[in-house]
C-alpha cells in the first residue's frame, strides 16, 4: 500500500440548501388617507377598548331616581327643568328604582325615613351610584343636633359624590353629576 493509494474519491460537498429566489421584502404601506382598512370598508365604526365603551355608555345615560325629600328636591327639580336642562346630558328623571342608575338623596334623612332609603337603594340594580345633595344628606346639615335626624345619609348607604349647599344651586348639582361622570370614567378599569 503506498501513499499513492490516496483514493481520488470526491470530497463530500458541503450542503447548500436551496432557498429559491429571495422573496419580496415588505415595504411600509402608504395609505393616502391614513385610515385603517376597516374604516374604508365599514365607515362609521370606532374601535376602542371594551371598558371605555362601557364607561362612556354608563356615564352618558345616568337616570336618576328622584328621591326628593325636602327643600333640595325643589332645586333638583329646577335642575331637571328647562332653565338648567339636565336632559342634554342624558339625565332623565325616573321615578322607579328598578330602572334607574343613580339615586340623588336630596333633603334631610330622618331616622324614621332611613329604612325606606336603604330599601330603595337595595332595590336598584348594579351598577348604581349615589349623589348626596345638600348639607342635610351629607352630615345632617342645619338639623344635625336634633336627635331624630340621621347625621348624613352615608350612615346607611355608600355615597359617591357629595354636593354641598343649602340648597345647592342647580348648577352645583350639575357640577356634581359631571363629577360623577368623571368618576365613572376613572374607574373603568376596575372589575365589577
Amino acid at each position: 500500500m503506498t501513499t499513492e493509494n490516496a483514493v481520488a474519491t470526491p470530497a463530500i460537498q458541503p450542503y447548500k440548501p436551496d432557498f429559491g429566489a429571495e422573496p419580496e421584502r415588505l415595504q411600509p404601506v402608504d395609505f393616502p388617507d391614513a385610515k385603517a382598512a376597516y374604516r374604508i370598508v365599514l365607515p362609521g365604526v370606532i374601535q376602542t377598548g371594551a371598558d371605555t365603551v362601557l364607561a362612556v355608555s354608563r356615564k352618558s345615560s345616568l337616570w336618576p331616581m328622584t328621591f326628593g325629600l325636602a327643600c333640595c328636591a325643589i332645586e333638583m327639580m329646577g335642575a331637571f327643568m328647562s332653565n338648567h336642562d339636565l336632559d342634554r346630558f342624558g339625565i332623565v328623571p325616573w321615578a322607579s328604582p328598578r330602572q334607574s342608575d343613580v339615586m340623588i338623596v336630596s333633603g334631610t334623612v330622618t331616622k324614621k325615613m332611613a329604612p325606606a332609603v336603604k330599601l330603595l337603594y337595595e332595590q336598584m340594580p348594579s351598577p348604581k351610584y349615589v349623589i348626596s345633595m345638600g348639607a342635610c344628606a351629607t352630615n345632617g346639615g342645619p338639623y344635625t343636633e336634633y336627635d331624630r335626624v340621621l347625621q348624613g345619609v352615608d350612615k346607611v348607604i355608600p355615597v359617591d359624590v357629595y354636593v354641598p349647599g343649602c340648597p345647592p344651586r342647580p348648577e352645583s348639582l350639575l357640577d356634581g353629576m359631571l363629577a360623577l361622570q368623571r368618576k365613572i370614567m376613572e374607574e373603568k378599569k376596575m372589575v365589577g
Binding site: E75, M77, S82, Y143, E145
Partner: protein, 382 residues
C-alpha cells in the same frame, strides 16, 4: 243570545261574590312630588273605603332647635318649613319676634316685605299649578311651564336678596339690605311674564274638558265643616267663605292695598284650583300697588342691639301663608333665645281632614284630592 261576551256573562250578585279589601300603600317615596308622605288606603276594587295617613318622615325638630338658637339664627329653620315660598315664612317669624320684643319696622321695609311675600306666594302657587296639573294628567307640560315662571322669580329674588330660596333677607326690625336700583323695572318685567304665565295655565286647564270632568264635584265641603276641621287659606275660600287673614286680621301695610278675595262655590277640587289661580292675579296686583306706593327711607330699625334680648313676651301671630293660616306662637322669657316657638302650620291642619275627604272616592281621585290640598311636608312635619 247576544254576540257581546260581556252581555253573555251573568254577573253574580253582591251576596254570592266573595271580595277582599286590598291595602294599597302609597309610600313615603313616590313620584307625585308631594314629599315624604305615606298614605295607606284600603280599597274595595277601586273605591277607597279607608285611609290612614302617616306623617313624620321629615320631622326635623324646628321647635326644639329654635329654642336652642338665637332669635336671628332660628330664622334659618323657619324659612325651610314652607320651602316653596321661602320669604313668606321669614316674614311670619320676624313679625312674631317683633311682637314679642315690641320692635318697630320702618314703612319702606314693610312694603318690601309685602313684595317679597307676594312673590313667594306666586312661587308657591305656580308650583301648585305645575304639580296639580301633573297629578291630573298633563304629564310634564304644566310642570315645565310652572318652572319657567318660577326661575324668573328666583332670579329676581337672587338679585335682591342674594339667594334663590332661603335668603334670610327679612330680619326682625325690617329687611337686611335696600333694593337694587333697577328693581322696579325688573320687577315689572317679572310681573308681566307672570301674568302671561298665569294666562297660559288658565287657557290650558280651566276650560279643559278632561280637567273639569276629573275635578268638578269631587269631595265638596261646606263652610261649617271646613271651619270645624280647621281648614284655612284657599281650602276655606273654595267653600265660599271670603276669609283672608290679610283682610280679617290685617297686619303690615295690607289695609292700604286694594285687592279682592276670590271664593269658590262648593269647595270641591276644581274650586280649590280656581281660587289659587285667581289669587295669583291678585298677588300681581298687590305687588304693582306696592311698587307705586313705596316710600323712601330706612329699611332696618336702627335702634336694634347687636344681640337681640327679649325679657318677656307672648304672642300668637297669624299670617296669611301661601297655604293657609301660618300661625307662630311665641313665648319669650329672657335671654337671647326664644323660650318656645310653635308653628301652627296650615298644611298640617289641612291634612288632618284628608281622611274624611278621601273615603268614598276612587283611587285615582284620592291622588288628586291629596294634590289639591297643596301640602308641603316641611310644614306638616315641622
Amino acid at each position: 243570545m247576544s254576540i257581546w261576551p260581556e252581555e253573555r256573562v251573568i254577573a253574580p250578585g253582591e251576596a254570592e261574590f266573595d271580595t277582599v279589601d286590598m291595602t294599597v300603600n302609597i309610600g313615603p317615596a313616590h313620584p307625585a312630588t308631594h314629599g315624604v308622605f305615606r298614605m295607606v288606603l284600603t280599597v274595595d276594587g277601586e273605591l277607597v273605603v279607608g285611609c290612614e295617613p302617616y306623617i313624620g318622615y321629615l320631622h326635623r325638630g324646628l321647635e326644639k332647635l329654635s329654642e336652642n338658637n338665637d332669635y336671628r339664627q332660628a330664622m334659618g329653620y323657619w324659612d325651610r318649613t314652607d320651602y316653596l315660598a321661602g320669604m313668606a315664612c321669614e316674614v311670619a317669624y320676624c313679625m312674631a319676634v317683633e311682637k314679642l320684643g315690641g320692635i318697630e319696622v320702618p314703612e319702606r321695609a314693610e312694603y318690601i316685605r309685602v313684595i317679597m311675600a307676594e312673590l313667594s306666594r306666586l312661587n308657591s302657587h305656580f308650583m301648585f299649578l305645575g304639580a296639580f296639573g301633573q297629578d291630573v294628567g298633563s304629564f310634564g307640560t304644566t310642570f315645565t311651564w310652572a318652572w319657567r315662571e318660577r326661575e324668573r322669580i328666583y332670579d329676581l329674588m337672587e338679585e335682591v336678596a342674594g339667594d334663590r330660596m332661603f335668603p334670610t333677607y327679612i330680619r326682625p326690625g325690617g329687611v337686611s339690605m335696600d333694593l337694587p336700583e333697577n328693581f322696579e323695572a325688573r320687577c315689572r318685567w317679572v310681573l308681566e311674564s307672570a301674568r302671561k304665565g298665569i294666562d297660559d295655565f288658565d287657557k290650558l286647564l280651566t276650560g279643559n274638558e278632561i280637567f273639569v270632568e276629573r275635578c268638578r264635584d269631587l269631595s265638596p265641603i261646606t263652610p261649617e265643616r271646613a271651619i270645624a276641621l280647621g281648614l284655612t287659606g284657599p281650602m276655606i275660600r273654595a267653600t265660599g267663605l271670603p276669609w283672608d287673614l290679610r283682610r280679617a286680621e290685617p297686619y303690615s301695610v295690607y289695609p292700604e292695598l286694594d285687592f279682592d278675595i276670590p271664593v269658590g262655590l262648593q269647595g270641591d277640587v276644581f274650586d280649590r284650583y280656581w281660587v289659587r289661580l285667581a289669587e295669583m292675579y291678585q298677588s300681581v296686583r298687590i305687588i304693582e300697588q306696592c311698587l307705586d306706593k313705596m316710600p323712601q327711607g330706612l329699611v332696618l330699625n336702627p335702634d336694634l342691639p347687636k344681640t337681640l334680648r327679649i325679657e318677656s313676651g307672648e304672642c300668637y301671630v297669624r299670617y296669611e301663608g301661601t297655604k293657609g293660616e301660618y300661625g307662630v306662637y311665641g313665648l319669650a322669657r329672657g335671654g337671647n333665645k326664644p323660650y318656645r316657638m310653635k308653628l301652627r302650620s296650615p298644611s298640617f291642619c289641612n291634612l288632618s281632614g284628608l281622611q274624611e275627604m278621601v273615603v268614598g272616592t276612587y283611587l285615582a281621585d284620592a291622588i288628586i284630592i291629596l294634590g289639591s290640598l297643596d301640602i308641603v311636608l316641611g310644614e306638616v312635619d315641622k
